[in-house]
Subunit: 190 residues, 2 copies
DNA sequence: CCTTGAATAGACAGACCTGTCTGTATTTCA
DNA sequence: TGAAATACAGACAGGTCTGTCTATTCAAGG
């Protein structure tokens, strides 16, 4: 009957809310403990340091992202449709009030040293996205799949940046149409 | 014979280096004072708070940006060429080792509350860029200048994001060609 | 029942943060 | 030369940060 989340899950849930909304350095351990209703020792038992919690949060976010992407792409057969669907989902997400940008871009902003663990994790995530876009571009018959995937990546990160900067109803609304233009131009539709 | 910069200029110069490279919260007043070789009281005389220095830095960056943009556009007559030239310059900048992304995006990442002064300043800057792109899009004969400017903005911020995340030699290299595609498609070239 | 592991509350250390204050030295300019 | 403004060095206050520690309570299983 113990429906409540475990301490570890509560901490991670709180971290998800707070890190995403306010940033990594802005949120202290005391606040995380307070809002997740957990003792300090419990916190440090599950996460030996604040950095390790940041790490866990980024990994959880990565998993969540791919779950989201898969839920979108699995509804379509053709790679072109999958790409379009991804960018439609990105547009919808980016203009929603719940969207505060991309946690990984924020991590890179706050931890600029490329060898910092958080930056590394963010980088790996972005490389993964790039790889997925390239694979779909390839399957979609792009003349230069790498080039198309890089272009699409610029659009996607531009959309997340717009979300953080401008808030809900920003100019990322059009990102799906824009992606479609690039896909059309760079794909041999013959 | 006193060629050295004034205390205020030294502080602002140091702030430019440190804030850009490491972020706003990561750099403390003590470090700024140490590296600019200034007394603490001198610092607080010229900048009544750290926030006001951040503000001054962002305003200086805005000025620098427009000086840069103007130095590029003034070499071309047609709005289309100006747009292309801007994105060629962005590409060149974004892939250079000196580029660490966009200070304003970082400000939005670190100060998410839209009414925070630093976020506000960043927002005004971005609105300015958007307006400039829209004006050029209009003059270039875009069917929908607002739409084209928003698309180009996504590309530009995507390029800055790539610079911060991936470091030198990132995938923003292509941003000028990509921009050109969008300009061509959305402009009545008749 | 009793033991063991886990969670709780909260004090504490030591570092670091912003901003203030005192007092001295240097520069500028009349 | 002398006065006023400016910059210097560095101590200090008060708060916040991460992470450690003690001591108590709760819950489950043998």
């Amino acid at each position: 009957m113990t429906q409540a989340l475990s301490p570890r899950e509560r901490i991670l849930e709180t971290a998800t809310q707070l890190f995403y909304a306010h940033g990594y350095r802005a949120i202290g351990v005391d606040r995380l403990i307070l809002e997740s209703g957990v003792a300090k020792m419990t916190f440090y038992k599950h996460f030996p340091s604040k950095d390790s919690l940041i790490q866990a949060y980024l990994e959880k976010s990565t998993t969540g992202f791919w779950t989201w992407i898969n839920s979108i792409t699995e509804k379509y057969l053709s790679p072109r449709e999958q790409l379009i669907a991804i960018f439609q989902a990105v547009a919808k997400q980016a203009i929603s009030p719940a969207c505060l940008g991309c946690a990984f871009l924020h991590a890179a902003a706050e931890f600029p040293e490329v060898n910092h663990p958080a930056h590394q994790t963010a980088l790996e995530y972005k490389r993964g996205v790039l790889a997925k876009l390239e694979a779909l571009s390839q399957e979609a018959g792009a003349a230069n799949p790498k080039a198309l995937s890089e272009d699409l990546m610029l659009l996607m990160d531009g959309a997340w940046a717009a979300a953080r900067m401008f808030g809900a109803g920003n100019h990322a609304a059009r990102v799906a149409q824009t992606a479609e233009i690039l896909i059309d131009v760079q794909t041999s539709k013959k």
